[in-house]
């Protein structure tokens, strides 16, 4: 299977790899997937609490090229977004941007789950009412 140029670019030059201090109150961490499924994504956001804007995002992913590219792209999109806008990121946007084939759609689903899980963690830490949409994750 050939990978799209964009997947290859994110894979070979991943954006925002790293770890944020998860003990900080304004950092939300989402850890999704499982080693036995071949995919684990950890996505973290740092939020400016005054404005509710995501100021930084980092990821680490165990998985195939498409999983790494999906999480790399997700961190790029998250930076500078408000929490509300971040919650609107849909897995199909990732599929489209990276031209993922059908067998790799689950990678984009995992990235969306990771975003929602990170936001949920941030909101719970800060006792912000979790919107129903995110609570279902």
């Amino acid at each position: 299977m050939a990978y799209s140029e964009k997947v290859l670019d994110h894979f070979h030059h991943p954006k925002n790899v790293g770890t944020l201090d998860k003990s900080k109150k304004n950092v939300g961490t989402g850890l999704v997937g499982a080693p036995e499924c071949g995919d684990v994504m950890r996505l973290q956001i740092e939020v400016d609490q005054a404005s509710g804007t995501i100021t930084d995002a980092k990821f680490k992913t165990f998985g195939c090229g498409s999983a790494i590219a999906s999480s790399s792209l997700a961190t790029e999109w998250l930076k500078g977004k408000s929490i509300d806008d971040a919650l609107k990121i849909d897995n199909m946007d990732i599929v489209e941007e990276l031209a993922l084939p059908p067998v790799k759609i689950h990678c984009s689903v995992l990235a969306e789950d990771a975003i929602k899980a990170a936001i949920k963690d941030y909101q719970e830490k800060n006792s912000i009412a979790v919107p129903a949409e995110a609570a279902t994750v």
Binding site: F11, V32, G33, A34, V40, M41, F62, D113
Partner: protein, 404 residues
């Protein structure tokens, strides 16, 4: 950049000497081996007979025991279905193993739907079957035992001689898929008590689209029911115009293997061991899958923990070819059933790579492979959250993962 090919269990390149031997049979000597009335047919038939002798010499068999097919999948089908149809009146029970190739497993599944009873033996953590369990599984209705000579993913070699002895003791036919063994190590079905044996041209430096089935002609004389109707070629067992060019190629490949496999393998096993030892000693958390003492000399299957195999391959797959037990490239998310059958956790199965070396593998190839794997594993671990957690001392089995 030099491209490195370490996927010889998937297919081997044709040896140029094989291609040279084949070429005249496309153009000048194009006759149908079944044309008995003119020289075009005679020279084709002569070429087929010669190839049959070359192949028989490789496996210490009688030329009449070689049935030409389109490849090992067809040979597996013909052997198992052919025995089932021929000996159905004696019983309907077949014993095979969970780590067999799909050509055997799917054939058995097909027969199950037609009324066969199939026992799938488990393997231990080294990939080997338990002989006591095999013998205990035999019953009066057992007509066939099908156990592969060497596994395609791990290279593990089953105790063929011991299995052959058990089958002989109970008067049961023994079939072995020897696709990964013939032409690589000395394979002698008669001595091992194997009555039917499948193998293929393109795994031994011959062309694709041609293979053979060894069918024992004496002690016992085995018959299989043809699975295709037609002109009654190959003594009625496999109809269809013989693939003369392919057969000539398979014959030449067999001859080269007979003459060169010993020296080839002496060289290749050193390369394999250097690759394996260097990687195992220079990287943390490396596991070798399958019994290292009962293994093909050109194969190693290794897991690099906390790194996903397909992702790892992507770091170098522009210039190096090998296989992964991670199933991320297929539609299913299940990792290799062979590795799972060895009791590897799914996580280690996802982290596995299979290296299969060959006649044309060089020292330089191994240097490149070692460097590429080291760089790739280190890079992927720097991206891996579970590697980070492992390094922090977190017990990953205690994490509540969200399986998907």
């Amino acid at each position: 950049m030099k491209r490195v090919y370490l996927d010889n269990n998937a297919t081997t390149p044709c040896d140029p000497r094989v291609v040279q031997a084949m070429l005249p049979y496309f153009t000048e000597k194009f006759g149908n081996a079944a044309s008995r009335s003119h020289p075009f047919g005679w020279e084709a038939e002569e070429a087929v007979d010669y190839a049959r002798e070359q192949i028989a010499a490789l496996i210490h068999a009688d030329p009449k025991e070689i049935i030409f097919t389109s490849g090992a999948t067809e040979s597996d089908n013909l052997a198992i279905k052919g025995v089932y149809d021929m000996y159905r009146s004696k019983g309907n029970h077949i014993i095979t193993v969970t780590t067999e190739h799909k050509a055997v497993l799917d054939t058995c599944k097909h027969l199950e739907e037609k009324g066969a009873e199939i026992t799938y033996l488990k393997v231990n953590d080294k990939g080997l079957i338990d002989l006591t369990e095999l013998e205990a599984t035999i019953k009066p209705t057992t007509i066939l035992v099908s156990v592969m000579w060497a596994n395609n993913e791990t290279g593990v070699i089953q105790p063929i001689k011991e299995i052959g002895a058990i089958c002989a003791k109970h008067g049961i036919l023994f079939m072995s898929d020897a696709t990964q063994a013939v032409g690589k190590i000395d394979v002698n079905p008669r001595e091992m008590g194997v009555h039917l044996m499948a193998f293929s041209g393109h795994k031994m430096y011959g062309p694709k689209g041609v293979g053979a089935l060894y069918v024992s002609r004496k002690n016992p004389r085995v018959k299989v029911t043809a699975q295709m109707d037609g002109g009654g070629h190959e003594r009625g067992m496999r109809s269809g115009t013989l693939n003369v060019t392919g057969i000539v190629g398979l014959g030449k490949a067999a001859e080269l293997a007979r003459l060169e496999m010993k020296s080839d393998m002496e060289r290749i096993v050193k390369l394999r061991d250097r690759l394996e030892n260097t990687l195992a000693n220079s990287l943390e958390e490396v596991y070798i899958n399958g019994d290292p003492n009962h293994r093909m000399p050109h194969v190693t299957n290794m897991s690099f923990k906390h790194v996903e195999g397909e992702g790892l391959m992507m770091t170098f797959n522009q210039n190096m070819a090998l296989s992964s037990g991670s199933a991320c490239t297929s539609a299913s998310l299940e990792p290799s059933y062979v590795l799972v059958a060895l009791g590897l956790g799914d996580d280690l199965a996802h982290s596995s790579l299979r290296f299969s070396l060959g006649r044309f593998t060089t020292d330089e190839d191994i240097d490149i492979a070692i460097k590429s794997i080291q760089d790739g594993v280190n890079h992927m671990r720097s991206l891996s959250p579970i590697w980070e957690m492992y390094k922090e001392g977190i017990d990953l089995t205690q994490v509540s993962w969200s399986a998907h």
